[in-house]
Point group: C2
Chain length 386, copies 2
DNA sequence: ACCTTACCAGAAAGCGCTTTCTGAAAGCGC
DNA sequence: GCGCTTTCAGAAAGCGCTTTCTGGTAAGGT
């Protein structure tokens, strides 16, 4: 046997070309030396509580009580059990515990569209931090914006008997999917499951962390008007999402208070590229050019900023640009983007706190309204001709 | 009872002030109407397979086989079982399944420092996508860079009997913690557990996805030299991390090939702020100013770019700046950053694939080397006086 | 000294499922 | 038509743990 051979092979499947150039990948093998003093015991599949009890010379029940502190156990016995447990390297089987105990397990489920999106990453960070403090494990599910996957995940999380299911982000355009989701969630909630959502208007009443999209956008509009702008355009997302609808409506409202009508709304996907494309479309369309553009999310605004730069439009000299959310990247671009700041981390902490407080089905659900703050940065200024 | 009251109260605890300004938060309640046609059955704690079997008039065993397709079941019986299952809204108990079946459960554990960091988010995205394809649930653990938490998570994931444990990112400076980690991991691996890591040099031999930090940094150095630079500085991270050490060594190596000695190395934390502080420190220190700066990660480079701008240093006219990793934000800043691109998503996909292939303890571990590509962007140019 | 009370260890009954094992019924060749 | 294999449903044995329930022993009251 050529066990020592340092075989090398090119990895067979490598999905998709690299972002910028083909990249080499190389696979090599190496032997695993067995650490001498770790060879204490035969590596039985898993050390069970039974083995620990036997080693300590006590009963299964006593071992369980000693390890969990569920009931008084004589000190010497407890000592023996503890010693046996770490001699054997005992790790309890969470599945068995979950099955045997009415307490269930210590996990929560978090469903979002894409962990890669900074908006979700921010909220997820808050959830993770809060979960860590309570010794909860988070099962993360990325739907990649496919409704079917979202529903599948709810049912997987139900199967896992997660303590709570958290949904982050706007629902889907398709009402049919929303209905299917409700059908999936409803029995869960009725059976005592906890559900909480961020920014999602649902037919089912569940605990909600709801950014004040409308008020935030209205306040932003007011600030923009105060800078002297009169001609606006909005880079909008899928109009069926309440987040989009609310921000758009709020912006309109804010303008209306100043007697201004919103001239143009361009629709785009909810991504950087969507914002980029929408901005290009706006520039390509004829008519008088707006002096100020509001993109309904920062992610879109970042794309729009790139598009404006590519088109030679200076921000804010030729055109002002504002977003919504205050994701970290907006401070790094130049000019930094004016936006409506949402406390993403706190929202994450709040949504899990909300979910864990009491069962969702307890007759009433809570709505935690989060106010956004207009943050004026370099991307907005006085309109060109002033 | 004033069940209809729309009680409002300010949420009691709200950790930390908002990022930019105090924000109002408002809590309100609302009643949950019971949807009429969903009231089919009493919401027993959970529908069990036993109930399904009884409803279908078959035995437990048959119900199990019918639902899982583990063995042939007469068509009519299978039909009855399926019908009963979704009439009752049966969801299998994953814990019971995991306990009863040698297959174990369908979850993997992913441990990283911080989901909020774009580098991790990128890799995590790849892991999530691959996991989704295989119907695996990912248990995400953020250590927030606390070694104790990392070890605690390994043991939680062991308890959950995760199919694999994935560790992303460099290990800790403190050798004692590394040893503790190994002690935690070792019995797991010996018991057939699968472990794979990204970018982590460990005493224990586990499957590894290893970016070619050294070669990448050397190639970057060569490109920079080719632009005409002769005086360099490096914004480095904690030197105990192999990632840092390798990139630094590689960069030195690349320079050495051109007969250039690295003038200055400034150490900073592995964050945006670390990069910012390191850049300030570099500017503050006397002596001749380097014409080109390499930050060992893009996150640090982004911070450095901000610091340079604040100090009135033009990039790349006065000073060139380059990073490593190619996280999304480096394309959005201006000028966009030159960097060594790593295929983060693919790395995530590969690490989970590696872990799932065969048990880690099978005598040999594999190392998948990932080559980075130098991507020249606007942040680098010819040195000032040329 | 006798009986009650308190304390605590062990036996055993599940938790909800998978999977052998057993056996009944049906299909086949002779 | 008889024994053979084949097909497939049901009984039952766990998986590893928690948690009653039971019972033995020591302490306290009279």
């Amino acid at each position: 046997m050529t066990a020592r051979s340092h075989g090398q092979e090119v990895v067979p499947k490598f999905r998709g070309p690299a972002t910028t150039a083909p990249l080499g990948v190389e696979l090599s093998e190496r032997e695993t030396p067995v650490h001498p003093d770790t060879r204490r015991r035969a590596p039985a599949a898993h050390v069970t509580l039974d083995a620990v009890a036997r080693e300590a010379g006590v009963s299964l029940a006593t071992a369980s009580r000693a390890l969990n502190g569920t009931a008084r156990v004589r000190d010497d016995l407890r000592g023996r059990v503890r010693a046996a447990a770490d001699l054997l390297g005992y790790i309890p089987n969470a599945h068995a515990q979950a099955l045997a105990s009415p307490e269930g397990n210590r996990t929560v489920g978090l469903i979002c569209h894409d962990v890669g999106d900074p908006y979700f990453a921010g909220i997820a960070g808050g959830v993770m931090r809060a979960a860590a403090e309570q010794d909860l494990l988070v099962m993360l599910a990325s739907t990649f914006r496919e409704p079917a996957r979202e529903i599948a995940y709810v049912s997987m999380l139900r199967a896992q008997r997660a303590r709570a299911i958290l949904l982050i982000g706007s629902g889907f355009q398709d009402r049919a999917w929303e209905r299917a989701m409700d059908a999936e969630l409803e029995p869960y909630v009725r059976a005592g499951g906890r559900v909480a959502v961020v920014s999602r208007h649902r037919s089912m009443r569940v605990d909600t962390v709801q950014p004040e999209n409308r008020a935030g956008a209205a306040a932003l509009a007011a600030s923009l008007v105060a800078l002297g702008h009169r001609e606006f355009a909005v880079l909008s997302g899928p109009p069926e999402l309440t987040t989009v609808a609310d921000r758009l409506a709020g912006f309109r409202e804010g303008l209306a208070r100043a007697g201004i009508t919103l001239e143009r709304v361009v629709r785009g996907a909810f991504t950087r590229e969507g914002g980029h494309a929408a901005a290009r479309q706006l520039l390509a369309s004829g008519g008088s050019r707006p002096t100020c553009v509001f993109a309904v999310t920062d992610v879109m605004a970042v794309g729009a900023l790139a598009a404006l730069r590519e088109a030679g439009v200076r921000v804010p000299e030729d055109m002002s640009l504002a977003g919504f959310d205050d994701i970290p990247v907006v401070r790094e671009v130049s000019p930094p983007l004016t936006t409506v700041a949402l406390p993403l981390t706190e929202m994450g902490e709040q949504v899990i706190a909300l979910a864990l407080r009491t069962p969702s089905g307890a007759g009433r659900s809570r709505v935690l309204r989060i106010e956004g703050n207009v943050v004026l940065r370099g991307s907005t200024g006085a309109p060109p001709g002033s």
